[in-house]
Amino acid sequence: MAKRSAPEVNAGSMADIAFLLLIFFLVTTTIEVDSGIQSKLPPPVPDEVTPPKIKQKNIFQVLVNQDNRLLVENEDMEIKDLTAAAVKFLDNGGGEGPAGCAYCEGERDPESSDNPDKAVISLVNDRQATYNTYVTVYNELVRAYTILRNRESNKRYNESYEDMYLRYKEWPETEKETPEYEKLEEQVNLIRDLFPLKLSEAEPQES
């Protein structure tokens, strides 16, 4: 027996383990992108201006009370039914003559909204309602608009509004002069004008 050097520990499999870890993290990590529901506040109103009158039938009233219960058009409602009710209201198209709505598919109930442009959703919150409920209700109301916009967009351009809007938003900055972009912008704006998001938030009530 000649001199034998001490055997080296084989560290080759360490690399495999590290790769396993790497792949595991790659798969499980969700990179958090900040996202949220966009909203616009009304500018402060000068005292001498009186707000324009809106016909009662064009207002869709949503009340949230301190127990997080929903009162929609003076009736109790579950949150899951809210979107359908809002869609029905916005899409009613009950107006006559110039106030009519050619693209609406609703029931044309004269007691409900004239057209989507006139229709206003009013959301009133009790101060004691939780933010959870508030966001959910708000989300469901925005969803009603999205559903209608998608429908209209599919009908006109064979593409949902959401896809179109995403394309519009992610258009490369350097190619904004092209006619394609201008056409897309026009389409997005048209759909938006057909179903403008009119969501008003009145001052919440004290409990």
Partner: protein, 161 residues
Amino acid sequence: MSKFKKQKSGDLPAISTASLPDIVFMLLFFFMVATVMREDELKIENKLPNANQVEKLESKNKLIYIYIGKPSAQYQKTYGVTDVIQLGDKISTVEEVQTYVNTKRNDMPEDIQDEMMVSLKVDSGSKVGVLTDVKQELREAMALKINYTAKNGDPMRNLKK
């Protein structure tokens, strides 16, 4: 024949571990890129609700963050247990919102001041009351573009307790 047999008796060549550092670096870089740094140290609870009508937020330099929620455990002695507002690093009152927004807006480059947006990070368990006060202040400060920051998910999960 015996010539070939002799060669076999040598030690196994050591396996090079030179690639290990590469792997560690890969991991390191991955996390460095993927990690989002928190701008402010949170002194309140801030669990965002779920929503599915969300849009991606604008780039960070156009955003102003306002946090609302209950003070976290170690601050409850000082600030109580009701919902409070956190502006930047410190817990503030409603009256300070306007000043804060205006200072932040003036710090921005002039050409993006109009695109400024306020991101409201409100804890899902808090009450709407404080939020409403903040919104009134924002209206006064002419910061009209706001955003209810939420996680992308099923909103119905908010309601299950």
